[in-house]
Structure formats: structure tokens, C-alpha cells
């Protein structure tokens, strides 16, 4: 269980990205995080694996205090949490296999990894994982020769190499067209349902939230403004989350 307590983050330039956010995530949940751009979604996700240092507050994960972890402990925690990004964040010039292998970096000893030496098991795992996301034939091509949807699947494969217990997905489909968005989210759904991984995913479109999430939270200017089931977001809630000017747009 992930427990966030009174989390605050103020950037050096004075922007208050998170302002006393508290909520809980049960194991095996698919939690959607919604809110406008700049509402603090990305900061929240990055605080959970400490890519961003929270200013104050606590994050407890299975009785482990993430906020108190240092150096090696942080890396030990990070490797159990897979992360997927809006811009995929692949090393474009490296091959698909190298990108996927880099998901193992938290497990392998430093010196061999610097010379690109990985165990046979790891190489096998790359094949298996790529097979799972349907990219087995692309193993040797450069990442930038893939389409956006394929690149995001490589991103998922990289996260899976970590054998994660939890997956953080930061707007994973915002750079993709709607059809591809469903295909990517179906992979996340599969990981959630079949493998029992907790998924915390920030999303833009409400219909995607309704379709995939088991629970949702909403942020507005760094504050938690909603917590509940996706279907509870009615028009009143919607205005509350997105502001009065907002209008609902449906996509496929």
C-alpha cells in the first residue's frame, strides 16, 4: 500500500507545485491522476520515486519510508517502480535492445554494465518482454526508426525489465493519437489485472479514465480536489476540477 501524507513541493523559483496532498493507493489499483496542465501531476509522480525531492511530507510504501531513503536505498526503491513517460524518453540513437536492457541497470553490477555486459538471463528477458509488447522483430533497430506507438511500447518493455511492483505513468498517451492511446493503455490494464501491478497513471481525457481506472484523484493548483471512483466525476465535479470555463470533449 502506498500512503502519501501532506506532500508539498515548492520549486526554487517559488512555484508551489504540490500543496499538502494526501491519499492512499491499495495494491493492485489502477489509479488515474487528472487535472489541468501545471496542476502538479508530473511533480506528484516524480516525488513518488524521488526523481524530484519533495519539500515536505511523507511517502510510505509497504511500510518503507521513501522520503527518508538515501543513495543506494533510493535506487533500490526505484528499481521496483517502473516509469513510463509522455515523451517515451528512449535514447533515440541506441538500439531497441539496449534501451530495454537499460531497465536492468538497477540490478546489475556497475562495472560490467559500463561495458554493456549483461547476463544471458537478461538477454532472454529482453526477448520475452519485447514479445509481450509485440515488438520481437524490432530488437536490433534503432529506437528513432520506430513510430510513436512502438516507441512507447519499448518504454513499457524497459519498465517491465525492472520486474516492478508498481508502475508510474506520466501522461503515457498524450503524445499519441486516440487509437494508439487505447492500445498502450490496454497493455497497462493487462499488467494491472493479470500481473497485479499497481498502476498510477496521469491522464488528460476523462473517457480514458472512465474506461481504464479503478479509482481517480484530481489535482488543481497543487491541491487534491477530488478522490473517488471515476463514475463519480459528474458535471459539477468536472467544473470543480477543471475550472468553470472548461467543457467536456468526448473522444472515441
Amino acid at each position: 500500500m502506498l500512503k502519501i501524507e501532506n506532500l508539498c513541493k515548492t520549486y526554487p523559483n517559488g512555484t508551489q507545485a504540490l500543496n499538502g496532498v494526501s491519499f492512499e493507493v491499495e495494491e493492485g489499483e489502477f489509479l488515474a491522476v487528472i487535472g489541468l496542465s501545471g496542476s502538479g501531476k508530473s511533480t506528484l509522480l516524480r516525488c513518488i520515486n524521488r526523481l524530484i525531492e519533495p519539500t515536505s511530507g511523507k511517502i510510505i510504501w509497504n511500510d518503507l519510508d521513501i522520503t527518508a531513503a538515501t543513495g543506494k536505498e533510493i535506487r533500490f526503491i526505484r528499481r521496483q517502480i517502473g516509469m513510463i513517460f509522455q515523451q517515451f524518453n528512449l535514447v533515440k540513437r541506441s538500439s531497441v535492445s539496449t534501451n530495454v536492457l537499460s531497465g536492468r541497470l538497477g540490478y546489475v553490477p556497475t562495472i560490467p554494465s559500463l561495458f554493456h555486459v549483461f547476463s544471458k538471463d537478461d538477454h532472454e528477458r529482453v526477448k520475452k518482454t519485447l514479445d509481450m509488447v509485440g515488438l520481437a522483430d524490432k530488437i536490433d533497430v534503432r529506437a528513432d526508426s520506430l513510430s510513436g506507438g512502438q516507441q512507447q511500447r519499448v518504454g513499457i518493455a524497459r519498465a517491465l525489465m525492472q520486474e516492478p511492483k508498481m508502475i508510474l505513468a506520466d501522461e503515457p498517451v498524450a503524445s499519441l493519437d486516440p487509437v494508439l492511446a487505447h492500445s498502450i493503455l490496454k497493455y497497462l490494464e493487462k499488467l494491472n489485472k493479470d500481473y497485479g501491478m499497481t498502476v498510477i497513471c496521469s491522464l488528460h481525457f476523462l473517457d480514458l479514465v472512465h474506461r481504464y481506472a479503478t479509482r481517480a484523484i484530481a489535482l488543481n493548483e497543487g491541491r487534491l480536489v477530488f478522490e473517488g471512483l471515476p463514475k463519480e466525476i459528474d458535471d459539477a465535479q468536472f467544473k470543480h476540477i477543471y475550472g468553470k470555463e472548461a467543457e467536456r470533449i468526448e473522444i472515441i
Binding site: N49, L51, R75, L105, S145, A159
Partner: protein, 686 residues
Amino acid sequence: MTKKQPEQQILHDNKKIIPFLSIIIPGSSQIIFKKPWRGFSIFIFLLISGYLVYWGFEKFEISKVQLNENNFIPWLILPLFLFYAWNIFDAFQISKNKKSPAIIAILSVMVILYTIGWSVTGVKLERLVTRFTDAKSVMNKLVNPDFFSTTINGKIEICSWGCLWDYSVAKINGSETTEVFLSSNVGQIFGQKGTVTASSWAVLFGKATKNQRIPGFETGKIIETIAIGLLATLFSTVLAVPVSFLAAHNIMKRIPGGSVVYYIVRTFLNIVRAIDTVVWGLIIIVWVGLGSFAGVIALTIHSIAALGKLFSEEIEHIDAGPVEAIEATGGNFYQIIRYAVIPQVIPSFLSYTLLRWDINMRSATVIGFVAGGGIGFFVLETIRMGGYQQYAAALWAIAVVIILVDYISSKWRFNILKDQPKFVEKKSTWKKVRNIIYVILAIIVFLYCWEITKIDLSKLFDPGPTFGRLLKDFISIDLTGKVIDNVLRELIITTMQAFLATTLGGILAIPFSFLAAKNLTGKSKFSSWIFYLVRSLFNILRSIEALLYVAIFVYWVGIGPFAGMLALAITTFALMGKLFSEAIENIDSGPIEAVSATGANKLQAIVYSVVPQIVPPFLSYLIYQWDINIRMATIIGFAGGGGIGLMLSTFFGSLQYHKAGTVIVAIVIIIAVMDFSSAKIREKFI
């Protein structure tokens, strides 16, 4: 907004009084009126030109006019006063929200700079004409390099093109003729049989003893030059990579105390970079003695600094996404660098290395002037003996090598920067074999270069007798009044040389660049001939370093800053001509069409559609050239071109290291200031 209100109020209330401030402190009211850039420029330029007028009058009696019996003043105070008056006028105009013509200010500063510059660099344009006969004889020798010889009346004479023509005609007709053979000069440039010091391989295999003179193949000076350039590039790249990580802020801020290291390394790189390769040569020969080895070290040191800066900027500009992703997988610092940073920077690192190779090859042709290795040393010898035809042969050899290097380097860079993903197929056996052959060839070339540049690492730990003194004296530099006075004088001369060369060379390049732009010359046979002719002229002139041109101008107009300025102007002309013409080729053709469609003729079309598009790139290139010229001007004196370089080599030659230290500090300061200001100007205008 609320905070600014009272400030605005004050500004508004005192609109009538503020302009008067510019009478006391020029530029101050412009600054208060929220035009800090304008105000600051006015202040600085008025200060500099005021000082220059005073200095020029005191030291050289520049622009002296008699007021009455025993009172003299410089007439240059007129433009100075005009500038000052304009500054007040400008302040009042701004207070009325009107514009004032900046051209008055620019013109008065130009008059001052040009008058002072003209005088201190000893420009004597009439010499270009009166001594033209001397120049003609040099030109004649330059186009008739000493490549072939023949025997006339039992004596060996140089066989020029005419003689070669007669010889070939006679050969074809089958008639009797005197033999023509390669000159000994060619042997010295490209290599010949002779006696050499036994190579370390011969020593290793017991065929010779150390330092024994044995018959063998003497390496040509141009080959030695190529070896110096190659090795320096290799060494500096290998060393610059780790340095660049220390100088990249996004990397260093990840480790404790890294920011401090970052600032130290960056400062250090900037200082090392400000000192030209040739000046490094002066220092290095005190350490390891004369020879190619000193040349390799000098080039390597300067290249590490230059590449280190470029590499680190490249690291700072990488996409941060993959870094974040690798960090999120639990990778540590080293793994982040290995998997997220290095793959991203490889193409740009390679491209910069190739660019540096080009620059290093050029530097290698002149490093011999001080370090005593490579073709530069040979050129210096020929000039000393007045052998202008041998000198010409060396220049032609250099031109061929540099043009080739330039071509290869830019082709490779183009391919690397395209960086298209390749669809990997299974590597064929032939490709594997080929790669192995390449590696073996590279190792052989490397070992050969190592051998002929006489690299002796033990020398690094056995410094020359005066090296300790040099280090000591560099720390306690001479700051006495007289030295400072002299250094300042040479510094002004050097800066003026660079200023005149940049402006004159740049202006001269403009009309020629139009002739070398393919989109303007058109497609007729005659104009494409002009295109190729002018482009080749640019390329040939560009392949020779300014330092090598000095000898020609010394012969033509005499030793001194004027000769150096002309040499700089020639290289400026060549590089600017090339860059300008490429800028013209890159313009948007739409406006030309539109203006031509109105019935304008070719010249009108150029004035109204081309000129507005090329002013920004031209200015930007001129600033770039100014940065180059100010560096070159500091070394032009080594070949008799005047300026601070002559002073520096004299101080080194007479072992006055503490004074040499003063000069070097002065060079570092002036280059740092100029770099900073040109970067600011670029930011502001381009």
C-alpha cells in the same frame, strides 16, 4: 505591477530633468530611460575613444594641429565632441519619445578608431603601389614554385612552368633536350632518401644503436605536419572527453561539490583557450625542447581546451528525458552517463573532432615557426634565406593538403550529423575483414606518426633547464610602469590590426561574394566560370594561415604591423568571401522573384531583395571573424607582422619570463573581454 507604479511616476515627473544627466555622465539618462544597452554602449565607447585620442596624441602625436605658438591639440577631439553632443541630443530625443540618428555616433567612433588604427599600425597605402615592382617579383616567384630543376651550363637551375612546357613539347616531339628532375626542395617537403636517426624499431630489433645515424628515408616536412595534426587531434579528443564531463553543469550538479569543480574547470578551459597554439609552442619548447614533439603538445593543449568547451556545451544540451528514464530504473551516476548521456553526444563529439582536425592541420602548418617541427619550420628557413621559390613550393603543398583535409572533414561531418538510423543487416564476412584491415591500418599510421614526430614521453618528466624559472617568473609577473606601458601600446596596436583587417577584409569580400554565389551568377557559361574562379580563389587563399602570408607582405611593404594587418586582411577576405557567398546562396528566393516580377533589373533586385536578407548573417560572420582575428593578431608578430607577438617572442628569446608572463596575462584579458563583448553583441542584434 503595483511596485512599478511609483517608479514610472518618478520617471514621468522628471522627464525634463533626466536628459541633463547625460551631460555629466554620458549614457546615464539613457540607462534611466530603460535603454541600458544603449546607455552602456555610449558610456564605454566614449570612454575608450576618449582614452585612445589622448593616448594617440601623447605617444604618437596622432592628428596633431597647432592652435597657437606653443599649444597643440589633436583634431580628433572634434569627432569625440560630436559623439558627446549626440549623446546629450539623444537623451533629449528619448525623453520626447523620438528617435535620433545613431549613424552620427557610429561615424564619429569610426573616424576616431580608423585614424588611430591607421596611424599605429603604420598603414602606408602608397607602399602597395610604390613597391609594387618588389611585389611583382614575389608574385612571380609564388606562381613559379621550386618543384623541378634542370641543368643549364653545368649549374642546377629551377625549372619553371615555361621550362617544363618546353621540356614536355621536346619530349613529345622526340627531340634532344636537357633532363628535368625533381628539385631537392621537393625531397625536403615530401620526403627523400638520406641519413636518418635510427628509429626506435630499428633499435628494438638490434639493427642499430640509439641515436645512430643510418641511411634511410627522410620524412618530408609536410608529412611531419600531417602527423602533428593527426596526433594532436587524437590525443586532445581522448583527453577532452573526461574534461568535458567535469565542465558540464548538468552532470556536475549531480555529485556533491561538483558545481565548484565545474566553475574551476570552465575558467581554466577559457584561459587555456585564450592563449593561441603558437604561444603555447613558446612555453612548451622551454619544457621539452625544439621539435615536432613540442608542436604536438602545444596543439594538444589548446585543442583540449577548445574541444572541452564545445563537448561540455554539447553535454549540457542533451535531451534530459533519457537521463530521467535511466534514473527512474534505479541506475547509478555512472550508468546514467553510460546509457543516457554518451549515446546522445557521440555524433556531435565526432563532428567536433573532425572540425578540430581541420583546425589542427592548419595550426600544424605554422607551429614550426616557434616549435621547430613540421612545414612551418621549413617555411621560416626559406624566408630567412630569401628562397621565395622554395617558400612558394611549400605554400602550394600546404594549400593542397589543407584543401583536401577541409574537403574530407566537411564531407564526414555532413554524413555524421545527418545521423540516419541504419537498418542493421547481418554483417558480411567481407565487412568484418574490411573493418579489421581498417583497424590495423589505423594502428600502423598511429605508430608511424608517433615515430616521425619523435614523441618522447620521458622528456615530459625531464624539463629543460629554464623551465623551473619560467614557472616561477610566470607567478611573479612584471607589473612595473614601463612594462605595462609597452604592453598596453602593443595591445592597442594588435587590437587595431585586428579591427582594420576585419573591416577592410570584410568589406572587400562583399562584392566578390556576390560573384561566388551560384544563385546570383546564373547559368550562362561565362558566369559559371566566374563562380568557379572566385570560389577557388577563396578556397586557396583560405588554406594558408595568416602567419604564412606575412612573409609576402614583409617583402612588399616592409616589416611591421602594416604587413601583419594585410596578412590578416587576406585571410579575412578569403573566409568571409566563402561564408558570405554561402549565406547568399541560402537566402529565400521568393523575394527575388517578386522584385524581378515588378520589372526591376538584376542590380535593383539584389539591392531590394537580397541585401535585407543577408545583413544579419554577414554581421554575425564578421563578429566571428573578429574573434578569430584578435587571436591571430597576437601571433602575427612571430613572422615580422608587428603587434604583441613580436614583443612576446623577444621576451621569451631573452629569457625575460616575468615580462613574457605579463604579456600572456594581457592577451588572456583582452581575448576574454573581446569574447564576452562579441557574445553580448551577437545576443543583442542577431
